[in-house]
Amino acid sequence: METESNLSVDTNKKRPALTWRGRSDRLAGRLFFIFSVIPVGLVLLIVVMLVIKSWPLLKTHSLWLLLSGQTWKPEEGFFGFWPFIAGTFWVTAAALGLAVPPSLLTAIYLSEYSGRTLRALMKPLLDLLAAIPSVIYGVWGTLAIVPIIQNNLIPFIRQYVGNIPLISSQNSTGFGILAGGIVLAIMIMPFIIAVLYEILDNVPRGLKEASLGVGATRLQTVRWAVLPKVLPGLVAGIVFGASRALGETMAVLMVVGNVAQTPHSLLDAAYPLPALIANNYGEMMSIPLYDSALMTSALILLILILIFNITSALILRRVLGRKWV
């Protein structure tokens, strides 16, 4: 930057005819700088604001008790965030469990098997899936997914496999982690597929050709030549999907049941952090420390998402060999 701008200053001195050009160039540079600073500044501003607003709660309650506490009764002064943190991880894990295998297969198909036409057709469709507003997924979840779980899946489970720990539950309404996981899985699949596809596509052509050349089938090539090479990248893609799933609010809120308890089963209701903030925005003004507690939950969520995002960015950077992702 320094040398470039020095250069333009020098040009100005030597060639007065270009003064206006030089100036406008410098002005544009400054203008662009201002606009590129805004988003970064906003994130910092949000973090600072969240810390300031959370401070009243953090000052009076031990951080460990806040994070590990199981009881959420703001009116009585109990602020245990554990049910919400656990709920967030349960829903995210369910979504990843459902989204990653089909995403991986789709990405492998698109990059290794499909013809150019199909690929050109599929990519925009997947992007379209990513652009559907989350409230629509939420409505679809309550109208389609919840009744199926309530009327078909739960009776089946109770009759045949009712004693398996992770799926047995008192809750038989269909609203719960599984419904949230299904809706979320479909929402994050386009993103995971896009990242995985790019990583697979980035594998040197020579590697694949060498493998095919010695008589390996395409499946063998994928399994023994391509996948080992991109393993860290796959992890990054999955972490990237997780960081999207962590923050998703509306669609999850509509189907997840919103019960402040620590879930023990896929069919239990849960209460993820974003839903906590969205639902209780209205109580902020009336219960002491409640606004501070909501800001603390926002801070926890932000930190979780930052950790996930930074991890995936670092791995992706290594895999794709780029400076920026």
């Binding site: 700088f33 805004i38 501003l45 309550t142 309404t173 919103n258 019960v259 639902n279 209205g282 003004m285």
Partner: protein, 321 residues
């Protein structure tokens, strides 16, 4: 060096601007000229009434625009106090903490919260014949002691589970319903949290074993005056005689309004719906609220709501003026 400090300076100025932008709000109403936009948000209970009032008010003052949204009583309160809305609709009593922060409120109309079950409920005949007592509802919603529909009607052979639904968003309906059942607030209600009044109704409509509660404007179809397809309002056995008597069975909007107006329906869950502003309203907002308390009252029963007694209305009017 100079260039670097220029950048730092710009960054600082920018953040200052951003901070400043967060705090400012545009005054929407000007005294005198009835022109401008009134933003209203909050309780679903009041939402259908408010849209009607806005419609009628616009007929008189065509230059006034309305922006009305739901979101629950809590959102109405928060929006009004934070300046995001001119008027907050709050379907519960105002808490001292809220008054301390400058919440100014007037009651404008009455309605009630009704327990709602699915029409295909396995014990629907018994429920309609016997009603459900307040204590039984408490054991369903607050303590969770009663878990099957058989226990509700004294037929232990019916083992169907109760699917209990409640509001997930901060709602006035949830608060008065909890108070009716001996709880302190929304947090005391058990059950699966569903977002918004229509969402809660929909969960019960789709679930034969479901029970929930709705504001008058959703428990009944305001257009037809009947129950929405697939739901039934549970008769509350107020005199505990083990039978649902004439007044306790509420199956049309007219019966519901009559029961609330005459005081036969218990309060809570009958309650006054409030309009909240930050500080005493002025200008257009004040004019609109005064209109609601006077001329606007003629649309109340038409819309299916219950008018406040005349002396309460005139007190409210004095408070606003």
């Amino acid at each position: 060096m100079a260039r670097k400090s220029w950048r730092c300076g710009m960054a600082v100025v920018l953040f200052a601007l951003l901070l400043g932008a967060c705090g400012s709000s545009t005054p929407l109403s000007q005294p005198g000229a009835l022109k401008g936009t009134v933003t209203v948000s909050g309780a679903f209970a009041l939402y259908p009434m408010m849209t009607r009032w806005a419609e009628e008010f616009q007929k008189i003052y065509p230059d006034v625009q309305f922006d009305i949204s739901g979101g629950g009583a809590g959102k109405g309160m928060t929006d009004a106090l934070s300046g995001a809305a001119d008027i907050g609709m709050v379907s519960r009593s105002i808490k001292p903490e809220e008054e301390n922060q400058g919440a100014f409120f007037v009651g404008c109309v009455k309605d009630a919260v009704f327990p709602v079950v699915n029409a295909k409920n396995p014990v629907i005949d018994e429920i309609m014949a016997k009603g459900i007592t307040q204590d039984t509802l408490r054991k369903i919603f607050i303590t969770g002691e009663i878990k099957t529909w058989g226990e509700v009607t004294g037929r232990p052979e019916v083992r169907d589970e109760i699917h209990l639904y409640t509001r997930s968003d901060a709602a006035g309906a949830a608060e008065v319903w909890a108070q009716f059942l001996g709880g302190k607030g929304q947090a005391d209600l058990q059950g699966i949290g569903v977002n918004a009044d229509p969402g809660l109704l929909d969960a019960v409509v789709k679930d034969a074993l479901g029970i929930g509660y709705n504001n008058l404007g959703y428990a009944f179809d305001l257009a037809t005056g009947n129950l929405p397809a697939g739901t039934i309002v549970v008769p509350i056995d107020a005199n505990k005689d083990g039978r649902a008597n004439g007044d306790e069975i509420i199956s049309t909007l007219a019966q519901a309004t009559e029961a609330v107006a005459s005081g036969k329906y218990p309060a809570p869950p009958a309650r006054v719906l409030n309009l909240v502003t930050k500080g005493r309203p002025a200008g257009l907002v004040q004019t609109f609220i005064i209109w609601i308390l006077t001329d606007g009252q003629q649309y109340v029963s038409e819309a299916g709501f219950v008018q406040l007694p005349p002396e309460t209305l005139s007190q409210a009017l004095d408070k606003v003026k």
